[in-house]
């Protein structure tokens, strides 16, 4: 369809973690797959990320955290989106995240957690499936 809107993705780094290889590589991979990607850069607070998501009118938010602070930070972003009446924007995450933490994160509203070794293709398929067009 002519003029069909591309999927808009926000890739964000919450907390103090500076490991941004995953976030940057995924951002570029999603762009190559035809999506519009906004990358926040490092050291974002949950409130900043939610505000950017709303302002940029994104379809989905991807979070990356390798510092172990995911249990605290990821749910905060979901909450913050809800507070901004943007609770419908799906959130997913990746990084160094122990398997046993995944059920808790999903319960808090994170749609999917990707472990190291995930391919970009898997993430693309996930996003295309989950974003309601």
């Amino acid at each position: 369809m002519i003029g069909e809107r591309k999927i808009r993705v926000l890739i964000a780094k919450p907390g103090l973690d500076g490991h941004d290889r995953g976030a940057k590589v995924v951002s570029r991979g999603l762009r190559d797959a035809g999506m519009e990607v906004i990358y926040t850069g490092i050291r974002q607070t949950p409130e900043q990320i939610a505000a950017t998501a709303v302002q940029e009118d994104v379809d989905i938010v991807g979070l990356s955290c390798l510092s172990g602070a995911h249990n605290h930070l990821f749910p905060k972003i979901v909450e913050s989106l809800k507070e901004k009446q943007a609770g419908e924007i799906p959130v997913f995450g990746g990084g160094i995240i122990p398997i046993d933490d995944i059920p808790g994160l999903k319960k808090a509203g994170i749609r999917e957690i990707f472990q190291p070794g995930t391919t970009i293709e898997e993430i693309v398929r996930f996003i295309e499936k989950i974003v309601q067009r």
Binding site: L16, R21, G29, I96, D100
Partner: protein, 553 residues
């Protein structure tokens, strides 16, 4: 020459006959073979590759310029490298326990990991610290925490490496202050602070201040240590994190040495004589999977640094030209699938680092794609080094791979390609300019993306990830940091704050502000402030107010 075969003619003959016959029937696995740095590999290296090779110019002897063959004359025949496992997590008490365990099991040096709030200058009770306290390293708020970490560990007997950058002056000051309480003088302290801010803007991200102001702190530390802590390695010029962020072996050498050049220039600019500080510079590299490229990388880095120090900076002492380095195996090479395979990867990487002549080594643990490692995993990682050191015999010959046609050729090529990068960075106006323009960041991202693509296209095979995949139960026995750590640490901080002499804290912080605003060295007033139990956050805030904060535009 009579009775001697002409190698050139012989090679031609071999290619036309023996080789051609086989290639016709059995083509090779791929059309071309390349290293991570896109160095094309020949099928075979022969004396023809070494026709221009001048032994004394390129290699020389171990312990002598240009140090290609190693920085000590006897290398591991004298003593093994320092086995130094990076550790630190949760509270000061638990970290102290892990250190004592490692020392009891034959580890020979400590390596201290700090949590992110400590690294970025926030106290545990700061709102930005929420969720991060005690993760990735130990939480240090005041001297009290540091006293606990080193309880019953005599600081004149161990060497301690601290992975600390923007707040390095504070943590070094705390270490000195703990030593004072143990009755150990600063001049007998041995160890390293990373103190390497440039790569933080490029790859690791724990910057606080803008680059120029950060460089002021770095050179203040150089000057202070030269006079007061002479055995201390004042900086660990680090390629590790850029490699982890995705760069190639050549880029790792080039960007690390380019950073090194910037530190030397900064120190000379504030009036220091190059030979007064250069011997305390140390380096930190990664060791990844491509075995021969890694061995050659270390040798190339040593030779190139020696040439830079003598040629570019006119260093007169040999010790100023010596590239001494710590190695850590590649964290980014570890995967969560079939995690025991990580032990094998680490073993091979560690072996390459040893053959490359490392001064100290950290071997990663098999479970680090999941979390901070458990004690069992760390023990295997330490044992890996002990097996290489004691059982394989590779430690009995100095620089044993020297003279290999392939290794020498690779060493030359890595050096040449690194020089091209350094020239380019020079032409951009130096490394700070290159960082500001995003040059290195882009180069690293391009390489990281190419690596990911190679894995996804199965051009690069990773066992258990894109080949030899099995269904398996994920590893569940991993280290968990108790969320209570944060509360505990906050309480401890609150207690220290009520017990200390507040007017002394204020006085020392005020003195620090004056020093920072002027030209006076900031390390002595930082030392006074930590002795008064000023917090990492309070001291950092004073410096933030004077120096400003760096923000990525």
């Amino acid at each position: 020459m009579k009775g001697k075969l002409d190698p050139k003619r012989e090679l031609k003959r071999w290619e036309g006959t023996t080789l051609a016959k086989v290639l016709n029937r059995f083509p090779e696995r791929r059309e071309n073979f390349k290293t991570t740095s896109e160095i094309e590999l020949n099928r075979l290296y022969t004396p023809l590759d070494m026709q221009e090779f001048d032994y004394s110019e390129k290699l020389g002897f171990p312990g002598e310029y240009p140090f290609t063959r190693g920085v000590q004359p006897t290398m591991f025949r004298g003593r093994f490298w320092t086995m130094r496992q990076y550790a630190g997590f949760a509270t000061a008490e638990e970290t102290n326990k892990r250190y004592r365990y490692l020392l009891d099991h034959g580890q020979t040096g400590l390596s201290m990991a700090f949590d992110l709030p400590t690294q970025i200058g926030y106290d545990s009770d700061h709102h930005l610290s929420a969720g991060e306290v005690g993760k990735v390293g130990v939480a240090i708020d005041t001297l009290g925490d540091m006293e606990t970490v080193f309880e019953d560990i005599p600081l004149d007997k161990v060497s301690t490496s601290m992975t600390i950058n923007s707040t390095a002056a504070i943590l070094l000051a705390m270490y000195i202050a703990v030593a004072e309480k143990q009755g150990v003088k600063p001049e007998s302290l041995r160890g390293t602070i990373q103190n390497e801010v440039l790569k933080e803007y490029v790859a690791r991200g724990t910057y606080i201040f803008p680059p120029q102001e950060s460089m002021r702190i770095v050179t203040d530390i150089f000057a202070f240590c030269k006079d007061h802590v002479p055995q201390w390695n004042t900086i660990s010029i680090s390629g590790y994190h850029m490699r982890e962020a995705g760069c190639t072996a050549v880029q790792e050498v080039a960007f690390t040495l380019a950073d090194g050049i910037a530190y030397v220039e900064a120190a000379i600019k504030v009036g220091m004589d190059v030979d007064s500080f250069a011997s305390r510079l140390s380096f930190f590299f990664c060791c990844h999977n491509n075995f021969f490229e890694e061995v050659a990388k270390f040798r190339a880095a040593r030779r190139l640094w020696a040439r830079i120090m003598r040629g570019r900076f006119g260093a007169k002492k040999d010790a100023s030209c010596m590239l001494r380095f710590h190695t850590q195996t590649a964290g980014c090479a570890l995967i969560p699938q079939q995690p025991d395979n990580n032990i094998i990867r680490v073993t091979l990487q560690a072996l390459a680092a040893v053959l490359g002549g490392t001064q100290s080594l950290h071997t990663n643990s098999r479970d680090e794609a999941y979390a901070t490692p458990t004690q069992d995993s760390v023990t295997i990682a330490l044992r890996t080094q002990q097996v290489i050191a004691n059982e394989t015999g590779v430690t009995d010959i100095v620089d044993p791979l020297a003279g290999s046609y392939a290794i020498e050729k690779l060493t030359d090529e890595i050096e040449a390609k690194a020089i091209e990068y350094i020239d380019k960075i020079d032409s951009m106006g130096g490394v700070v300019k290159a960082i500001e323009s995003g040059f290195m960041q882009n180069e690293i991202l391009n390489s990281a993306y190419a690596y990911q693509k190679a894995i996804e296209d199965r051009d690069l095979i990773i066992v258990g990830l894109n080949e030899f995949v099995t269904e398996e139960e994920p590893l569940r026995d991993i280290l968990k940091i108790d969320p209570e750590v944060e509360r505990y640490q906050k309480e401890k901080l609150a207690r220290v704050k009520t017990e200390r002499d507040l007017s002394r804290v204020r006085r020392t912080l005020e003195a620090l502000r004056e020093a920072a605003e002027g030209k006076e060295n900031i390390v002595p007033p930082v030392l006074d402030a930590v002795r008064a139990y000023a917090t990492v956050g309070e001291i950092s805030d004073v410096l933030r107010a004077v120096f400003g904060e760096y923000r990525v535009s």
